[in-house]
Amino acid sequence: MQMKFLNWLAIAPAWILAAAIAQAAPRFEDSMAQRTLACTGCHGKEGRAGPDGYYPRISGKPAGYLYNQLLNFRDGRRHYGLMARLLDPLSDAYLLEIAQHFAALDLPYAAPPPATAAPAQLQRGQALVREGDPAHDIPACVQCHGDALTGAAPNTPGLLGLSRDYLNSQLGAWRTGQRRAHAPDCMARIARQLSPEDVAAVAAWLAAQPLPRDTRAVATLPRPPAILCGSAMRPAGRPQP
């Protein structure tokens, strides 16, 4: 009898734990999170990024930025077969709602991996991000992406919390025209001014930066940017940002 009771004691925590998990994660709820499980399959739980750095974080990015990217994938300005296929049957209005859902999530970031790049490369990266390179007509990243690099509403994404591989490949894709945006495609213009070494330096430095305390995109930039960037119009009947 005593043995049986001890056995019960041993397994009780497992039962309690299982019950707690079952309560914490309801199997089905009529919510946007439930509807967008197709997104979080690759982009990680709640859109916090996939494990391999290839699928970027989408939670907390400005709604306008996410909406533009959804349209870009659907309409062939960015190329990834799985994305295009998922988005093909969706309407502009629903894509905006999906963008707004992920934009509204304010979740903690993981600490960045330690910088492995050479100091000279990191220095060049930092200089490009903070001051740009006026001699080569390269504006500073902070001019549009904000002093804290957390982005600016409504359409400009933050640049922190992304993997070095992702940053490298996106800037590279912009240089070659593989990644495009609505006209005027400001990032394409800037990326074409960057040398391959510049791209690598910027990516190495950005990927190694910790997030500031407030990770949200700023509502307004201190100075209006000198460059004009294109963006989609919101679907009919929705307020334009």
Binding site: F28, Q34, L37, L86, P89, A93
Partner: protein, 423 residues
């Protein structure tokens, strides 16, 4: 010797004459002059509706392009055909076409300059469209904004690239036709038949094509693999596939209108059809199509001798199902009403041709976001997460569990399909 040569030459001449005759028969007199007056508003509105019903925009628009300006690549086993610009631009579109030239394209499959058109443009179906409907469609297309976009030349392999080969194909497989009402049937059935077989060109996918790309019988709708797409358009005549004989008419209408119904959800190429075409159609027309489809002669798909999954594969499949699928589709494959389709007893799961199930597991997908179902629930792609033998195991499990009795799927079959994902 001379006689033999003469006989051979005569034979060749006869065949050429026959091919030419078969290609140009049934053509009306052509008036070249493009219309001088703008189209009447009423005709434009009717044409817009018919152009939707024919889903012209889906092929005649490239990804992210201006509607009807052409350029979309249509992959075929014979090479790539590019849809043409059908905006009223005078240099690159159909701005200089006359109504009778437009009619000849739809009804006889010949272009303004007399060239034979490739049957990627489904004129084997469109030939049934009435002259009045064709004229309204032409009026609508004349009313859209002209876009200067030169047509992309087709890239088809020899000999399919030649007009001569196309002429022979047409002589064998195409004849212009008119839809004639079947007096034994109701007006509603006849309207449905006209839409399904003509403008709706359902048979272009839902009927098997032969080795030369022709639909063996464009009326039978007995299902076929869509060329180059790895999707199977299921039989609409077989109750074991997608036959609608025992569905309520209202449910068929709901499926075509919203993309979801109690007993089915559209995905893949059919989601595109519902999104761009059928959701915009009048309920009366959808009902007519439902009535026609429900009355199709029933066929029973021959129950193929289905391979059964081995014990190890079955165990692995069940485990993978519990890990990745059960959260949404339920422990017993019961699904969630209104969100996730049941897998137990779902015909889309147990089709003899397992292509669609593999496609959905690899690529995921959303049903179309329609007015009737504006915020669909999505399925994640598993192509990046599961290996080919994982997919084979879980798909085989689903096809054999909870009373489902369909055959196992091999790792090889999955690997063949994976190539088509993400293109």
């Amino acid at each position: 010797m001379k006689r033999v040569i003469a006989a051979v030459l005569l034979g060749i001449l006869t065949v050429v004459a026959l091919v030419l005759f078969l290609n140009f028969r049934g053509e009306d007199e052509i008036h070249d002059a493009p219309p001088l007056t703008p189209p009447a508003g009423e005709s434009v509105a009717r044409g817009a509706y018919l152009v939707r019903a024919g889903n012209c925009m889906a092929c005649h628009t490239e990804r992210g392009g201006v509607p009807f300006a052409g350029g979309r690549a249509i992959e075929t086993p014979f090479g790539t055909a590019y849809a043409s610009n059908i905006t009223p631009d005078r240099q690159t579109g159909i701005g200089d076409w006359s109504a009778s030239q437009f009619w000849r394209a739809l009804h006889n499959g010949r272009s303004r300059d007399g060239r034979l058109l490739y049957p990627a443009f489904p004129y084997a179906n469109y030939t049934l469209v009435t002259r009045a409907d064709a004229d309204a469609m032409f009026d609508y297309l004349r009313s859209v904004s002209p876009v200067a976009r030169a047509n992309t030349p087709h890239r088809l392999r020899w000999p399919y690239s030649t007009q001569a080969a196309l002429a022979v194909w047409r002589a064998m497989y195409f004849s212009p036709a008119q839809y004639r009402d079947d007096a034994a049937q109701t007006a509603e059935w006849n309207r449905g038949a006209y839409l399904v077989r003509g403008l709706g060109h359902c048979g272009a996918c839902h009927t098997t094509r032969n080795a030369l790309g022709a639909n063996s019988d464009m009326l039978d709708l007995s299902g076929g693999v869509i060329p180059m797409q790895s999707w199977y358009a299921p039989s609409l005549a077989s109750p074991g596939e997608a036959g609608l004989h025992d569905w309520e008419t209202a449910q068929v209408v709901r499926l075509l209108q919203s993309g979801v119904a109690d007993r089915g959800t559209v995905l893949g190429p059919m989601a595109e059809v519902v999104l761009h075409s059928t959701q915009h159609m009048a309920p009366a027309d959808l009902r007519a199509m439902a009535v026609y489809l429900k009355a199709l002669p029933r066929t029973t798909a021959g129950a193929a001798d289905a391979p059964v999954a081995g014990v190890r594969m079955a165990e692995r499949g069940a485990k993978l199902y519990e890990q990745h699928c059960a959260q949404c589709h339920g422990d017993e494959g019961e699904g969630v009403r209104g969100a996730y389709p049941p897998l137990a007893g779902n015909r889309a799961v147990t089709l003899p041709e397992a292509a669609n199930l593999v496609q959905v597991v690899l690529g995921g997908g959303f049903p179309p976001a329609t007015t009737g179902n504006p915020r669909p629930f999505g399925m994640p792609p598993f192509a990046t997460l599961l290996s080919d033998d994982d997919v084979a195991a879980v798909v085989s499990h689903i096809r054999g569990a909870w009373g489902n009795k369909a055959g196992a799927v091999s790792e090889f079959a999955v690997s063949q399909q994976r190539g088509g994902i993400g293109r």
